[in-house]
């Protein structure tokens, strides 16, 4: 039996549920793998797990928010033959990565300012949180399985990969970034393939009743499909909601926020630029009040924008 460990960092549990819900596929895997650690599902103490000198496959979920999570992730990773980074928090920082523009104390203050702070003692003896990062910032994994939680394409590929690894001892085909190497837009059931996409303006979701057939961008609604890797079966779009970009960039290392800003700029009112002119275009773009939250919802921590912020504040 091979040893499989699932190690959570700062998680929501969505990746746990995604894995645990695989039922039969998971049972297939358990013919080859013994789960030596998975705190949500298996009752094994961390101290016992840490006695193992090596494990075959480590699946890491979640981001890194404390010194201890970082230490544990590094320690366990160094004993693992294959390291899988599962879910967009682990791979890209995910939604909590939106906080990476701030210092931990500012994040704490967002709560403290709203409640009754009973005692103020500057000599805090509690361990301090470290600046939030992705697992991929501290360890170099062998397999990246993005998504929030990982979509069906990614999970299928991951299970195939792990089964093959159990049978052959080799990681083949060696895919670093799971999912299909194309944009979600490419195979979108709504994609108007024959024409170039034209956004009639910018419409926030509260302004419209979403049409359940038409390309969201053509409704003026921001959809991250063009800049997002195909990791799912268009689940949100089929539920009549635009893609929010949980799959991350089409290629590892690309800044999907910036590439999508580019696509929106290309598509916005292309048919009317010469009549609405700069003022008209600016008026529409000004309706986007949160560029970071729209374009970088899951990937801010890995972006050039994050690096620029760090440069700006001198870190």
């Amino acid at each position: 039996m091979l040893k499989l460990a699932v190690l959570p960092g700062a998680i929501c549990g969505g990746c746990d549920v995604a894995l645990a819900s695989l039922g039969e596929r998971l049972a297939d895997l358990l013919r080859y793998y013994e789960i030596v650690y998975w705190p949500t599902v298996v009752d094994r103490k961390l101290t016992d797990f840490l006695k193992l000198s090596s494990i075959d496959v480590l699946v890491h979920m979640g981001g890194i928010s404390t010194e201890e999570e970082a230490k544990l992730a590094r320690e366990v990773s160094s004993r693992a033959r294959v390291k899988v980074s599962l879910g967009s928090c682990s791979v890209y920082g995910g939604i909590p990565g939106l906080n990476s523009l701030y210092k931990p104390i500012e994040v704490y203050e967002a709560i403290a300012s709203q409640v009754d702070v009973r005692s103020k003692n500057s000599d805090l003896e509690l361990p301090r949180p470290i600046e939030y990062s992705a697992y991929t910032d501290i360890v170099e994994p062998d397999v990246l399985a993005p998504g929030c939680p990982p979509g069906s394409i990614v999970l299928d590929q991951l299970f195939d990969l792990l089964l093959k690894y159990a049978e052959t001892g080799r990681l083949e085909p060696r895919i670093l970034l799971l999912g299909d190497p194309e944009s979600l837009c490419n195979k979108c059931p709504r994609n108007p393939k024959t024409t170039k996409i034209t956004m009639p303006g910018i419409r926030r979701i509260f302004e419209v009743k979403l049409d359940d057939n038409k390309c969201f961008l053509e409704q003026g609604v921001l959809c991250m499909g063009p800049a997002t890797r195909a990791i799912c079966d268009h689940s949100c779009i089929k539920a009549n909601y635009p893609c929010t970009g949980c799959g991350g960039p089409i290629e590892w290392g690309v800044d999907s926020g910036l590439s999508h800003m580019s696509s929106v700029a290309s598509a916005l009112m292309v048919d009317r630029e010469k009549s609405v002119l700069e003022a008209g275009l600016a008026r529409e773009l000004d309706k986007i009040r949160d560029v970071t939250g729209i374009f970088y919802r899951y990937t801010l921590r890995k972006s050039l924008t994050y690096k620029l912020r760090k440069l700006r504040v001198g870190e």
Partner: protein
Amino acid sequence: MSWKPKIVAFFCKWCAGAAAETAGVMRLRYDPSVTPVIVPCTGRVTPSMILSAFLNGADGVLIGGCHTPNDCHYVAGNFKAFKRVQLVKKLLEEIGVEPERLRLEWISATEAPKLVRVVNEFTEEIRKLGPLGGKRA
């Protein structure tokens, strides 16, 4: 005062780029802190090029393109540049970088004096804003 601003200028070869050449021929002086990068069209300048310029030492980024609505050689590259710059300016503001560090100007091939004025104005503005990076003061 040891610090000098560094500015990267993306100039469209059909207009601002040509104006920069003309300025040279006319012996018009402009601030040497500007490093011009000639591009085929401002529509070629991506948000990631702008951020890379900042990350690689630029304190300001200037983009010079053809006048709207009808001067772009590729129909609407200048409008595309305008929309991108608008979005990037918003992004910069959200992360605490002055949006004034990014400037877009329409400068035709015949407007060498305008080019010089814009470059000098922009350099002065960046000088006032100071270095982009927190520690390079």
